[in-house]
């Protein structure tokens, strides 16, 4: 019994200590002209869908949940956001070349159609981000139309 008490106490102390380490969650910035939202490639419904299902890792406008301030959950979150932005940041859309945009659109299509994105772990907590079959179809159609527009 005594050992159990010590373990629980040690765990508790450790949990407090790790709160003092920075999470590494990158900062947000307000939406500007570089965002895909301002681009002529998207329409209202697509913007809404992207914001709901993708922006929390793939933009500079992340809706941070309460546990973003609690380690170790915050570390995991930081990892996802940093990696997400590195692969695709919708807030810096205009920084990408036409080639990169075309490549990204294809990757969006592949990831969404295969069900890899949004991440399962993210959907556990954000049920509203789940893509229904019709959402997948319309996003996939959008990527093709947008890619065709870039090729014009």
């Amino acid at each position: 019994m005594k050992i159990l008490k010590i373990i629980v106490l040690a765990g508790f102390v450790l949990l407090i200590i790790i709160q003092f380490f920075p999470s590494g969650i990158p900062g947000n910035k307000p939406e500007d002209e570089k965002s895909i939202v301002k681009s002529d490639l998207v329409t209202g419904p697509v913007v809404e869908q992207l914001k709901k299902s993708c922006f929390d890792c793939h933009s500079d406008q992340v809706r941070l949940p309460w546990y973003s301030k609690v380690a170790p959950a915050s570390w995991l979150l930081a990892d996802h956001i940093n990696e997400g932005r590195e692969n695709l940041n919708f807030s810096n859309w205009e920084d990408y070349s036409k080639r990169e945009k075309t490549g990204l659109l294809q990757r969006i299509k592949d990831e969404v159609e295969s069900g890899n994105m949004p991440l399962k772990s993210y959907l556990l907590i954000h049920a509203d981000a789940r893509l229904r079959t019709e959402d997948i179809l319309s996003l996939s159609k959008w990527t093709e139309e947008a890619a065709a527009k870039i090729m014009e």
Binding site: K98, R99, E100, T102, G103, L104, L105, Q106, R107, E144, A147, A148, I150, M151
Partner: protein
């Protein structure tokens, strides 16, 4: 039903011709306007084995088949070329496991740069 020996012989001969008519390719089909010879050389040596119809990995074939690349829709070609640049920048191809088993498959820095600049300029020419 009894099969006539004549038919059997004809079938065997036809089979031999069929096999000879479709030899296993070891390099990209000549298409100089798409693959300049120095690019083709690198691809044939380091990438073609997996990214061709004869490749054994369905993942590699799903991602890219060099021989089909020039025949895809324009936007698909650009997307594939962009992926090639990205993968080479990240230095993830050929995969570590493949290079470990076949050290001669390792893509040299010069070869990687050559493929990257080819893929980028090819994509740009299609986007113009």
């Amino acid at each position: 039903m009894k099969t006539s020996p004549f038919i059997v012989i004809v079938l065997i001969i036809a089979g031999i011709f069929l096999i000879q008519g479709s030899p296993v390719r070891k390099d990209i089909q000549n298409n100089l306007s798409f693959f300049p010879s120095e690019v083709k050389k690198v691809i044939d040596k380091k990438c073609y084995g997996c990214h061709s119809a004869q490749g054994k990995s369905p993942v590699a074939k799903g991602a890219l088949i060099w021989d089909s690349l020039p025949n895809l829709k324009k936007s698909r070609i650009v997307a594939k070329l962009d992926n090639i640049v990205r993968v080479l920048q990240k230095n993830t191809m050929p995969p570590e496991g493949v290079v470990k088993k076949n050290p001669e498959m390792k893509l040299l820095p010069d070869e990687s740069r050559l493929l990257q600049s080819w893929a980028a300029s090819k994509a740009d020419s299609l986007l113009r």
